[in-house]
Structures are given as C-alpha cells and as structure tokens.
Amino acid sequence: MANEALPARPADNRGAPPSVFRRYGSQLGIIGVGFAMWLGFVIAAPAVFTNVDIYRAFAQTTPQFGIIALSLTFVVITGEIDLSFPSVMALGTAAFCLVTAYGGAPWWVGLVCGFATGALCGLVNGLLVAKLNIPSLVITIGTQFLYRGLELVLMNGTGVPLIADQYPQMHALLREDLFGVPVQTLWMVAILIALWVLLNRTRFGAHIFLVGDNQTSARLMGVDVVSVKIRAFVLVGVTAVFCGLLTSIYGYYFWPSTGDGSLLNTIASVFLGGTSVFGGTGSVIGTFVASYIIGAINAGVVSAGVNAFYTQLAFGLVIVISVVLQTIIDRRIRRQSVTGQ
C-alpha cells in the first residue's frame, strides 16, 4: 500500500470486536436503573415482592402490553413512533366480537378478521408516514382518535362478554396455564424469539436498522424505505390486536375502552430497553426485559402502599431518564464519528 512509508498510526482498540459493555452498555445501564427501582420495591414491600403470586400476576399481565412493545421496537428503530396502537387493540378486538358474537362466525374467522383489521390500521399508518412523509408523532395521534372513534361507533359504546363457555379455544390459547406457566408469558417468549430472528437474521430486519440510521444512505443503496416502514407499522397493528384479545379474554369481557392506559407502559418499555429515540439502534431483548420491569413498577407502586398516582410519576421518570441517557450516548457516537477516535 502507498502508506507503507508512513509511521504507523497509534494503536487503537478497533482490532478486537467491541467489548460487551461497549456494545450493550446503554441497555445494561438502563436496565440497571430499572432493576434498582425494583429493588426499592422489594425493600418497601417485602411481603408482596417475595411472594410468588405477584410474579404470576406479572407473567399474566405484562405480555398484554409487552408484546406490542416488542413490535413497536421495530418502528422506533426506523426512527418513527406509533401512538395509535391502544385504539388498534380495541378496534381489532371489536372486529373479532362483531364477527363472532354478533355475526355467529367461528372463533378462528374472528381471529382472521381481527388481525386483518390490525394489519389494515398499520398499513394506513405506514402509508401516511412513509409515503406522504408526515411525522409519525403527529399522524398517529390523529389515527389514534380515528380508530377509537370508529370502534366506538361500530360497537355503539357497548362491551361484549367473552366467557370461557362461549370461547373455549380462545381461553385455552390466551388465558390458561401451560406446564404451570401463564400462557401469556409463553406467548411473549415465543414472539420474542420470532421477532429477534426477524430483526437480526432477515433482510427486512437489516433494513429496519439501515433505514433508522440513515434513510438517505439506505435509499441510495437500493433499500425500499417506504416498504420497510410500512411493514414495521403493520407488525405493530397485528400485535396490537393480539394484545387486545389477550387483555379482553383475561378480563372475560371486551370493554370499548380496551387499550386505554397501555400507551405509557408500552413506550416506556421500548425506551427503557435501550432502543434509541433517534433510530438505528435497539434490541427486542432489551424491550422484553424492560417490559417486565415496567410491569413490576406498575404493581410495585401500589403494593408498596404508595398512592397509585405515583405510577405515572415513575413511568415519566423512566421515559425521561432513558431518553436523556440515549441522547448522551448518541451524541458521543456522533462526536466519535467526527474525530474518528
């Protein structure tokens, strides 16, 4: 090479693969923060937090928002956000109820209709964001009201009982234990594995990272940015309906307000899990662990005997701290990119 005559560059540490801490530092750090909060609850309410029942409860309820958080991670890595999923949970479940309870169709037809509704909602979000370049933060607030309104009109504001006698298959699939483990958590583990493979071992997953990192570069190198984003939104739509059904079957009843209150938990899980709000980096495993930490905070604040209003405060803190940490890390990466050191 031409630079043989030049003095060797000072030794740097790039010869080795980046250390575990460097690679997963942000995730480890943020999960550490969450873990410390959880320890606080153990100290504040030892009777509750040393009993296995509370963990069974986490295992049943956390997946009700955690599964959406897993797929929302994809959208956040592309640099976008979806705030409409609470309404999609309700609209998709409403479609299921309309087809089965009112239409008399078998349960699996209801499932297909529910998922199709979720996919359609995701498609609309994706088209508006990716094709028309509308900021996702704004447009998904709009579609959140749109989908909720549509659901309320369709259901006329009434709920539907979903008892085990009428929906035995749905209860077997979504409510009962399997090998002594709540089936909700088994679903969440299975979906985690599937989504991990999708994100880390498929071209679609690779393109999710590229689009979120630098959309222009991705486009110049032949990545179909519009299609990648649309598919990520569709994924959130479908999993939102799954969680809507999970929540409704768990409560034996479909409430028209299903999904209300899941927004904060879900988003907090994604950011606490170390997915960057700037896009380009993130992990579903981080989101998975963070979901359970968020679930613990939820129950922990109440069982620690603290006023439930404090949960809002806790989630707010989690979101603010994780996003601030991400910003600092992101800035460091950018500075590194300028100096090359």
Partner: protein, 262 residues
C-alpha cells in the same frame, strides 16, 4: 478534437451517451453531450461548479433521463427505460459524495447494504458477511485483519477508511463501472492518497470508472482520459498521454475565461 485511442479498440464502450441534453425548467444543464467510457478505462470529469458534471453523472447512474433526442447505450445496445435500478442491475455502482454509509451500524452491515446475502433457509448469512468484510478490508483496503474488526461501527473509522468501505463495497458487487463523485472531498492528504490507490485498484481489477473531482492534481495522475465540461458542453476530451498537467491547467484557465479550449 480527436477521439483518443481506446484501450480496448473494437469493443463497444461500457456506457455511451449520444447527444445527451438535460433541461430543468428554463435552465439547460447539459446540451448535446457525447460521452463514453471504455472497458478498463478511468475517465476523469473536470469542470467548474455549474459546468454540468453532476448532471452528466446523474444521467449515467440513471437518476435522470436524458431529454428527447439523447440516447444511452450500454455495451453498444440502446437502452430506453434508464433508471437507478436498471443501472445497478447492469453493474453500474456509485460511490456517493456523502458516502451513503450508516454510521451506527457495524462495518459488515454497511459492506452488504441493500444486497444482504442469505442462506438457503432465507435467513441472513451474518457469518459470511462478517468473514467477507474482514477479507475485503484486508485485501482491498490494506487493513490487516487486526487493525479494524468488522464488528466495529463505521463511526469509529476515519474519513479515508469510510471512503474505503464505500469503494470496496462498489467493487465487491461485480460492478463493471464505478462512478466516484468527489471521493476525496474532506479527506486528509494521507486519506486522499489511499483513496487514489483504491481507484487504481479498480483499473487493475479490469473495471471502468468515472472520477469526478474539483482537484486536477488528484484527477490527472489516475485517469486514462479526461472530459472537460463547461456551461453544459464538452469543452475538450484528452487522453492523458496527449497532454501534460501544465498544458491542461493552462487550457482550463482559458476555458474559464473564454468558454472554449481554443
């Protein structure tokens, strides 16, 4: 002006533009340009800002279509529906001025951006991507495998190293013609030298290149032929063997003053 002898006489050029014009509203960016690149040839494009270099290159890479009357030939065959996708599928790769890298991603992911290999199960072949990146980096970019591990993110690389990734990537995918748009912009002397070596390697690999740069001192030593553009027209075409650097500089001044090579 004489069309210089080509290195592969008799064979049709890799790419040829005939009577290519491009108008944007009222502005005529290019008018009636004839341009060709032969196999194994490095062609330099010189010209001031607004001379039409960038428009010409965007026609070649399929970003623009020529106005009616202009024709594009690839290996002697006329091509009508010219687009970026078409150009890439025929082996025309571009190293963009802004390098088109994703800085927060590991080097191996950037190396295979947009063309990720997969196993027969349809899953990404990450192992192959890592190993190939390490090999390409040591073979084409002069890194020993110990210098930079392909798992590091691109943000840890210097400007020249990043440019190396962008060029190596273009070469790896069997590109027949590599377009380099101001590849030395913002690079240090050492890095520029490295980049010019990469360009020489393109020729060694039997491939062709179009090299656009403001700096004649970078362009002259590596090219076989030079096009000088001025105000949307070809003001002169020279084989490097026909003209010394001093003569070329002299003519570039004349073009800048009079709009003609004289």
């Amino acid at each position: 002006m004489a069309e210089p002898a080509t290195p592969s006489a008799g064979e049709p050029p890799v790419i040829e533009l005939r009577n290519a014009s491009k108008t944007f509203g009222e502005v005529r960016a290019l008018s009636g340009v004839d341009f060709l690149v032969n196999r194994g040839e490095i062609v330099g494009l010189l010209g001031d800002n607004g001379s039409g270099k960038s428009t010409l290159v965007k026609l070649v890479m399929g970003f623009y279509q020529p106005d009616a009357g202009g024709e594009i030939y690839f290996h002697g065959e006329r091509i009508d529906n010219w687009s970026v996708a078409r150009a890439r599928s025929l082996g025309i790769e571009t190293v963009y001025q802004e390098r088109a890298l994703c800085e927060k991603q590991p080097i191996w992911r950037n190396m295979f951006m947009g063309r990720e290999p997969h196993t027969r199960w349809g899953l990404l072949d990450v192992k192959h991507m890592r190993e190939e990146s390490a090999r390409l980096m040591s073979e084409h970019m002069g890194f020993t495998s110990a210098a930079v591990h392909p798992d590091n993110v691109v943000a840890t690389m210097s400007g020249g190293e990043k440019q190396g990734v962008a060029i190596t990537r273009a070469l790896y995918f069997e590109a027949e013609l590599v377009i380099l748009d101001e590849p030395t912009m913002g690079l240090s002397l050492t890095e520029t030298r490295k980049t010019l070596d990469f360009i020489r390697n393109i020729k060694k690999a039997g491939k062709s290149a179009i090299f656009i740069d403001h700096n004649i001192f970078n362009v002259y030593p590596v090219v076989d032929r030079l096009y000088v553009l001025d105000r949307g027209k070809v003001a002169g075409v020279y084989a490097r063997s026909e003209i010394t650097m001093d003569e070329l500089i002299d003519r570039l001044y004349r073009v800048a003053r009079t709009g003609s090579m004289g």
